[in-house]
Symmetry: C2
């Protein structure tokens, strides 16, 4: 599975999803093309999915927010008879490398979180209208919607059959959402997760697995009624017209991926990717009308889309590059001017969507299992939103004083209002709050420094960077760090980073990425699931997996 | 490593620890006997430890609380020159089965939690007095103490070298305590966990890795000074005399383990252990003087010690028994009468210690990775503290109405005050609060039912049991459940249960058992750590592990 995976798509290319837009209501149909799998060797029967299906879904969700801000309610449903969605494709899982499975689950989790949060962030509420079998990842799609309607017929049920059937866990937040979002009593959850055939009808409602169970003959009408009710009750402001998300400007070569504002340099010997983000190339727009007119070419959105694509590209297509270094170059004040237009107009739908998108990208970086480092060189623009990168990474190195032959402006960091609440992490704290968990007053003190140009010694004193280095030490120290990091076990790095990055409170999100994922990864490595006699390999043969019986 | 592991020991048998009791201060010396390993094939050099060393430590901590209630401060230190503790023995880890490693880590974690909580629970504060190398599990011992003192000399440092040296994570809460207890900034934690040689002197204090750094010549005196200060400031009541914990009454045969109040029946074909807890055999003591006079033979303490041993025995010595069924038999009112004496005297040291011990045992059950079920038969005494078992388990089955030929009293459940706060889970909620996470008023309603004898239909209506069954269905349903459970993959069960058992808020404890453990288990299965060219196998050869470079 070392095929190039492209995260860019558009509706003209969809093979698996259809959307019917009807004013404030969008009907979203899952209609997976059996022969449209991303890889060879499996058919996507019964609306089962692989990464390709999810890339399209992520695209739908994203376009819904930028291209269709008029939408207030999205009804997720199946275009197929008698099946809502059978979940992740088992043959795909059986054949996939461990690294692909894990990255696949991570991306699907991020997509679930995105439409789950769309109601709070953008006023777009997702309803799952479940007709037919809704199993495993299918039910997890429904769980991530904020209202689940189930038809009451003999073949419609919700189920998490992974444990009895496949000896793995539901991989996209199912267990966590059952206990923590739906608040299903744990012994009922235990039963539910042990029944291959799932739960239907009244019991599904009684156990809180769904919100509403409706007689089959009235189902479609009730779903549309409910959608109209939710739309009428929505507090989302009316917006008549969105912007178009055109293709991004990207060139992929052997050792680089180049976008209009982002460059990714790949160093396979050092196992490192350097992502350089460039500051704005033009003046800040005067107001949101101008931003809207610029559409997908407005700097803040363009940079976001390109960075997002770069991260996903590295995750799936460059798995052996264990270290990602973030650099920036540009005018920090100009960057802050672009940012300021959005901040001054947070109640404008496009300003809001752009800021929310940045929140998602920064979270995506937080959970990227590569060693992350920020390299703060002269000429850099780690200001405002880009300063967040300094605390998303595992470490940061900053140039101190002048460097011989380097006539770029001295490196400095500028905070803005966004660093104090605009971009919460998965733990619901800001990155600065997480960083200074033991020293509450530091965050308050830093608020007083918004707009200050902090050179290296200031930045160090304020705890904003890990290490500052002058011309004499810079090259050696940074090189030693990079070499050392490359020599460590990638697995130990993944585990260590997953544990160090999210201090403080936990949320459903941190449980999904921190706890559920770790257990799933473990199970995905155990012979009981993936061995030649394990459940995943034996699936469909009629023979149950052969298990080592020791409890661990 | 299928040797029988005995969790019972006493000071006369210790090979690795010494304690000097001196009024309110106890000096606890780690002095591991190199040749005293639990298994063949390794030497416990440099105060490194295996499960045997930890069993003694757990015994010390337990006796400190029951036999030496006069102790207010415990100084944990090394009796060896130039080394505090080198952590878990690497050759032991390299040779151990996965299941042993995981259970070893779990027990050591529970012991760390026990002395960490001793300050809040019993007024016994642990100080770590670190002289010499303090690495890996050694530093984790110190981290679990509530005050860390480090001597300032060239050979004394604290370190978590697991990642660079062994390609695994620190396995006893190190990462979590560094970020969440010590609140070390995450980028500094990242550096700290990447440095084999660790951090010493002033930097260790600046980074919050220790509380105090002291000149070597003044170290011993300052430690004793500090201990005396803490003892003087302690709010723990003075108690002149403890009780003696004699050997427990235990008989192990091929298919049973029998204690005075607990019976464990082993069914290897069905892969099930049934633990039957017997109600009191005598009247409740009139007051705490009587309880104290009974000493380790008082019913509530005897039952606790026997149950604790039974759980540990099953965990390490019966790994293929995937299901543990809890049963009780006895007079619920008599049990509540015994419990009531402790409740009425919570400020009495022995009542407090006995209740705190029950809290720990119930937590131990919560994190036991076996499928747990409660079988509520006629004649049972699931009341008060034993009713907690109903919500510690994954499911419960209760007999309804009369059963033919069964003349035991009809099964009923009785709540007491202890079910509403005395025994918080690792998530800091009670088991009832966790159970009814979505229905806050139910817990309040249940408070009004304290003392009511709830038969099956009442218990079901109040959500206290999973399923009630009459004479006709009982045998079949229970049998089907047991058979079904035995047929599932043990790994999937472990993962599922770890995710379903702890809904709601997270704490340092749930992070250690839920998140850190899962990542460690994953890493313990990956070739980069445990393969023939992995870091654990190559340790000591001077050759670094050979790593698959893919990031997962």
């Amino acid at each position: 599975m070392s095929k190039f995976i492209n995260f860019q798509t558009d509706p003209a290319k969809y093979r698996h999803w259809k959307v019917a837009y009807d004013g404030p209501i969008a009907n979203l149909y899952m209609d997976v093309d059996e022969n449209g799998g991303l890889f060879e060797g499996y058919q996507l029967k019964l609306n089962s999915y692989d990464l390709g299906v999810d890339i399209e879904l992520a695209d739908v969700v994203q376009r819904m927010r930028f291209e269709h801000p008029e939408v207030k309610v999205v009804v997720m449903q199946s275009a197929k008879d008698r099946v809502f969605c059978a979940g992740a494709n088992i043959r795909m899982l059986g054949g996939a490398a461990h690294s692909h499975k894990v990255n696949f689950c991570k991306f699907t989790n991020e997509t679930r979180n995105t439409f789950e949060a769309a109601e709070a962030d953008s006023g777009q509420k997702y309803i799952a209208a479940v007709k037919g079998a809704c199993a495993g990842g299918g039910y997890e799609l429904a769980l991530a919607c904020n209202y689940i309607m189930l038809t009451d017929d003999s073949s419609s049920s919700v189920a998490l059959p992974e444990v009895p059937l496949l000896a793995v866990l539901p991989g996209t937040g199912g267990l966590t959402r059952v206990t923590d979002k739906r608040k299903v009593r744990r012994d009922l959850a235990d039963i539910f997760c042990s029944i291959e055939e799932g739960v239907k009808g009244k019991k599904a409602k009684d156990w809180r697995l769904v919100d509403e169970v409706i007689q089959n003959s009235k189902f479609d009408a009730t779903v549309q009624e409910r959608a109209a009710e939710f739309a009428a009750k929505s507090t989302k402001a009316d917006v008549s017209k969105g912007i178009t998300l055109g293709p991004i400007n990207r060139t992929i070569s052997e050792n680089a991926v180049t976008y209009s504002t982002v460059e990714v340099a790949l160093d396979r010997v050092a196992r490192k990717a350097t992502i350089t983000l460039h500051g704005p190339d033009g003046d800040a727009p005067a107001n949101m009308a101008e931003v809207e007119a610029q559409g997908d070419q407005s700097y803040m959105l363009r940079l976001a889309r390109e960075l997002d694509d770069a991260i996903l590209h590295l995750r799936l297509n460059e798995m052996e590059l264990g270290l990602v270094a973030f650099q920036t170059q540009g005018d920090p004040d100009l960057l802050l001017a672009h940012e300021a237009v959005l901040l001054a107009n947070k109640d404008h739908w496009l300003a809001n969507e752009t800021l929310q998108y940045w929140k998602r990208i920064l979270k995506r970086i937080d959970v990227t299992s590569r060693s992350l480092v920020a390299i703060v060189e002269h000429g850099s623009c780690f200001a405002g939103v880009l300063a967040e990168l300094l605390w998303a990474v595992d470490r940061s190195y900053m140039m101190e004083d002048e460097f011989e032959g380097d006539n770029r402006p001295i490196a400095r960091i500028k905070l803005s209002e966004v660093n104090f609440g605009q971009f919460p992490m998965a733990n619901d704290l800001t990155r600065l709050e997480t960083r200074f968990l033991g020293e509450d007053t530091r965050v308050d003190d830093l608020k007083g420094k918004i707009g200050d140009a902090m050179e290296a010694s200031d930045a160090e004193e304020n705890g904003l960077v890990t290490m500052i280095l002058d011309d004499i030490d810079w090259e050696d120290e940074v090189r030693i760090f990079l070499e050392e990091r490359a020599s460590f076990s990638p697995d130990a790095m993944t585990g260590m980073e997953a544990n160090l990055r999210f201090a403080g409170p936990e949320t459903m999100e941190t449980r999904i990425f921190g706890r559920l994922t770790a257990w799933q990864n473990w199970i995905f490595n155990r012979p009981n699931a993936v061995g030649s006699n394990g459940a995943l390999q034996r699936y469909g043969t009629g023979v149950r997996g052969e298990y080592n019986l020791e409890r661990v």
